[in-house]
């Protein structure tokens, strides 16, 4: 069994081309990381220390999406976009830009302010380890976007979920500093019906 299994899975490999490409991407990520570190050092001068720690942690864990459907581009409220389709060779692809280009909230004096829609609403009381603030918008194409913000001021996270014009759940992305989905996110998914049933 062992030798057969080993020989079989020896064939499961990254192609050398893909491996080189990923290596190159990692290499470029080092440069980006250096820039981010420099930027965060500058931010730390003008922002409260707590806010800086949150920003640093957020950058460390960005979990992304699983949108898979027809050829189209969905512009996310957070600034990123999802593009899916089929290339010239008939291979399906999913191109994902970062969901949130900028933080949808600001933390000032330990208070959480929602700034995605420029409302600057104080949402501190909505955000705990188990509860979340919900913002909703219907796009011109009829797609429903829901942004959820949860967690405590020193451990915030956010997510965006999308439904099509028929009300079918398309998918979502989340930015959190925890390895596993936090409780508030699980509650948001459950309440919104934004759940893909695992195998």
């Amino acid at each position: 069994m062992k030798s057969n299994y080993k020989r079989t899975f020896d064939a499961v490999n990254l192609s050398p081309e893909r491996q080189n490409q990923m290596r190159t991407e990692l290499f470029s990520r080092f440069s980006e990381k250096q820039k981010e570190d420099n930027t965060m050092n500058i931010k730390s001068i003008s922002k409260p220390r707590k806010a800086f720690i949150v920003v640093a942690a957020m950058l460390a864990f960005t979990l992304l999406v699983g949108f898979t459907f027809g050829n189209q581009i969905i512009q996310l409220l957070g600034g990123g976009r999802i593009e899916t389709g089929t290339d010239g060779d008939g291979n399906s692809y999913t191109s994902i830009d970062m969901g949130f280009e900028a933080d949808p909230v600001e933390i000032r004096d330990g208070q959480v302010y929602f700034v995605l829609d420029s409302s600057d609403e104080n949402i501190t009381d909505y955000c705990t380890e188990t509860t979340y603030y919900q913002y909703e918008q219907i796009a011109d194409n009829g797609y429903r976007h829901v942004v959820a913000i949860g967690g405590t001021p020193d451990n915030l996270g956010w997510a965006e979920f999308v439904w099509d014009e028929s009300g079918d759940f398309i998918g979502g992305n989340a930015t959190t500093n925890e390895a596993n989905a936090p409780i508030w996110l699980a509650h948001a998914q459950e309440a919104l019906g934004a759940i893909v049933i695992p195998e």
Partner: protein, 173 residues
């Protein structure tokens, strides 16, 4: 590998991480593939695992890099399997080239197993981890690992026997 004071990586760590990538990227890929059954998800996992090292959110102890990367890979795969951002459609890849026909049959049989069996089979039979080590990775008891291996082998035999019967049936026709 030590974390730099700024929380990111310095030049020495950069070289170390690239060396780890060269040495272990295929191991991470195979573990992720055996768990997630899709090459794109497995590639995403490779990127995610090594980005954690770059971002400074994960730090392997010297000499324990392999076990560390295995654990981070498994945790990432678990999140993918049980999260909202899991891909909704899971076509199986068929472009892997195998040395022998039997390898393809064994591959198909393994991939047909439930995820909880696939991962223990792979960690034990390919990576050579002991039941005790696997129990640590999966946070289940050693006896549960043993039980899963036993059941997985039985399922594999059943699947391979069915395939064999089908092939025989087609030959008879």
């Amino acid at each position: 590998m030590n974390k730099s004071e700024k929380g990111g990586v310095n030049r020495v760590q950069e070289v170390e991480i690239l060396e780890l990538f060269d040495q272990y990227s295929n191991m991470v890929y195979r573990i992720a593939y055996s768990y997630l059954r899709q090459s794109q998800d497995a590639e995403d996992t490779v990127q995610a695992v090594f980005l954690k090292l770059i971002d400074g959110s994960a730090h392997p102890e010297q000499g324990k890099e392999r076990a560390f990367l295995t654990r981070v890979t498994i945790n990432h795969c678990k999140n993918v399997l049980h999260s909202v951002w899991k891909r909704r459609v899971e076509p199986l890849d068929s472009d892997i080239v195998f040395e022998q026909k039997e390898d393809r049959e064994l591959f198909n049989a393994v991939i047909a197993l439930p995820a909880k069996y696939r991962i223990v089979v792979h960690l034990h039979y390919y990576e050579g981890y002991t039941f005790s080590e696997i129990s640590g990775f999966l946070k289940i008891s050693s006896s549960a690992v043993s039980m899963r291996i036993h059941r997985a082998k039985k399922l594999l035999k059943d699947i391979l026997r069915e395939d064999s019967n089908e092939i025989q049936l087609q030959a008879d026709i």
